[in-house]
Symmetry: C2
Subunit: 417 residues, 2 copies
């Protein structure tokens, strides 16, 4: 055989066992979200290039897949003339555009489910792909904290339905972060840049953050932040009243305490305030959440309140909160646990060449009527090898025809092969 072709660079095929696990997980998640009254929508996989490029997506807007304009009669002299569309890099930009397009046809507040592929032309690396699946819920048009509580509760239930194991919801608030930074002495105009450094805390530690902060001058501010980070690093409990700098926004603190208490009480979810949680996205305006899996390092989901993005596009102020499950991460965790996807019997029905095909179809249909999976195959000359391949592929029984009727199902045993 000539050399096997590959999928495009940084992308991958999904084999049957992988798709089966994904479908199981996605159906469980969608069922839970549906029971909360969230409604699924779909948007095109492409959006106008200006909308993507001018969005709040930070560095994601620099790694777009761009689509050539159709019907070009002459080769253009610049990219600007030649490109009109791009592949979406997340589901939030399309959601904002969808809401602006269709809000008059939606029940408000709109409780949205979206899932599907997104695309980022990142440098390929282990476990990261250029096409991957996201799974988001958002509530648009609700300013009160009920929205946050519902998103966190629904997402927690969805993860439980996936039997992912124990996890903790970490909570913070954009106004806590901003007020903390100015309370220790930075200018409001420096806040965004300081927070980008703080976002690296879990990678570079208190000392690393301190070192990078010195570039902003104001060493007393850097020292004050370092003291807080070292307390967190030590594992000692942070007492907000005592340990947060005077001037930290206490209303925002109360908000995340209320969210955390409601979720912990009602849904039995572990929650934790984490005053270093930033989550990169500059568009957050209120509560920020992240799901930390207790065994696997790193986050398996996150979100927050973003009250300004929708209005920018639609011209109508629209409060919004979103929560995204890290679907690829979830699949990875559950793959490593070898979840048993097969529940029903899987029967291989082997028939000899020359059998009346109406008989084959009728017998198979009769077996399927008992609720089992039935695959029909021409009987191979090497019966033993054929049964071994079927066993490896997850089939549990096989039958053949005797006098035009199927034999009793005979078990296929992995060990005996």
């Amino acid at each position: 055989m000539s050399q096997r072709p590959s999928p495009p660079r940084g992308m991958r095929d999904l084999l049957p066992a992988e798709v089966a696990l994904r479908r199981t997980l996605l159906n469980r998640i969608l069922d839970v979200y549906g029971r909360f009254g969230f409604e699924q929508i779909e948007t095109p996989l492409v959006e106008e290039i200006e909308r993507l490029s001018n969005s709040d997506g930070g560095e994601n807007t620099t790694i777009l897949f761009k689509i050539l304009r159709r019907g070009l009669t002459e080769w253009p002299t610049s990219e600007g003339e030649s490109v009109d569309l791009g592949l979406r890099y997340d589901l939030t930009v399309p959601l904002a555009r969808f809401f602006a397009t269709n809000s008059n046809q939606l029940l408000l507040p709109f409780k949205s489910i979206q899932t599907g592929p997104v695309f980022r032309a990142e440098r390929p690396q282990k476990g990261r792909y250029r096409q991957f699946t996201q799974c988001d819920i958002d509530i648009l048009g609700e300013a009160s904290l009920g929205a946050e509580v519902e998103l966190v509760t629904a997402t927690s239930e969805a993860l439980r339905a996936c039997e992912v194991g124990e996890f903790t919801i970490r909570l913070n608030h954009r106004r806590i972060l901003e007020s903390m930074v100015t309370a220790v002495g930075y200018e409001p105009s420096q806040a965004a840049a300081v927070l980008i450094v703080l976002d690296k805390f879990d990678k570079i530690g208190a000392a690393g953050v301190h070192e990078q902060l010195l570039a902003f001058g104001n060493s007393s501010a850097a020292t004050a932040l370092r003291a807080l980070l070292e307390r967190i690093e030590s594992g000692d409990a942070v007492d907000p009243g005592r340990d947060l700098p005077a001037g930290t926004d206490l209303d925002a603190l109360e908000e995340i305490q209320r969210i955390g208490n409601a979720v912990a009480t009602a849904a039995g979810v572990k929650t934790e305030l984490d005053f270093t949680l930033v989550r990169g996205m500059g568009y957050y305006t209120g509560a920020i959440f992240e799901i930390q899996h207790d065994e696997f390092k790193g986050s398996i989901g996150g979100g927050g309140r973003y009250d300004r993005m929708i209005g920018k596009l639609s011209g109508v102020d629209t409060p919004a909160v979103g929560f995204s499950i890290g679907f690829e991460r979830l699949v990875h965790i559950l793959e490593s646990r070898a979840i048993e996807a097969t529940t029903s019997d899987r029967i291989a029905f082997l028939y000899p060449q020359g059998t009346d095909l109406a008989v084959v179809a009728r017998v198979a249909a009769a077996l399927r009527a008992e609720g089992v999976v039935v695959r029909t195959d021409l009987a191979a000359k090497n019966r033993k090898a054929q049964l071994s391949r079927l066993t490896d592929a997850g089939f549990t029984h096989w039958v053949e025809l005797r006098d035009g009727n199927p034999t009793a199902a005979q078990p296929l045993q992995k060990d005996s092969q």
Copy 2:
């Protein structure tokens, strides 16, 4: 409000009711295919541009969405240098590439399910979109007719599971078409072009086909074909032995008769031989099938045997048959029937501002534990208008809190609004 933005030209958003119907239909189809032992795979939405451009897709290869190469440092002087990928226009080219990539990890014959979006930059027109969903099954590596029978049976069962109504499977064979054309007197080298004309029979009729065939010369051949087409047009039964030109491939005829008989006998599906069925695709080598809905004009699916395409790519001859459900058409038919998607109760739980959010979450969870959908909403000042909106959105009951406990569910009635 500023003017509402639109999805990209020729594309569309799917609203919640549309997505719900699609998900229901797709799950029913996938469940049936799964019971036949077909296995779902996924391939990336993009493939290398050469693979798409050089494929057997006919005019589809001229309406590709092309993707700009990443990391261009200078603006290229031609399209060839600037484009490396394209959006897939069907699921067959990716399947062929997938099989060449992964065949050593698959149970052979490989029984594949694929569903997902495909893209064609056609001129936008009513009911046709530039992104749409396909849903295919294929059997790769099986040369015998059992494969054809299984595809037709499985697809028929899937359509029944969707409650689409009555349909007929039309059958033909590539070798019948080719032999018929040469039997009346055309050169083998003219066959492909003559068949492209014949493919228009249902639009332009026997006289129209005859007129276009005169361009090929050989008026006696054109007259002979016209006689057959007029017989078909008249609605009289075609007796292959009497009406097909002497020299028509009788082995091929027997093949489709066997397929038709097996499917009709075993699965109770109506079948019909149609010697004018061409289905455009030049890559078919054997049986060709199309599903004709008895009420709605036009096809709701089709397929055939294509024994040469996979080998061209993989270097290993691999017989193949495929059947594609016209998913968008199916959705359209079932939308017009107003299928009742909602089966369980849908309850709106209205709580006043200031309610303890832990109580809201706990009460909602208790209601959901009874298996119903529960949406929580802040109670609006105008209760009547709020209930009316919820009713329109498909909610069947509402509850509120009284002394911290939910009231009995009160029905929402469409008529009373």
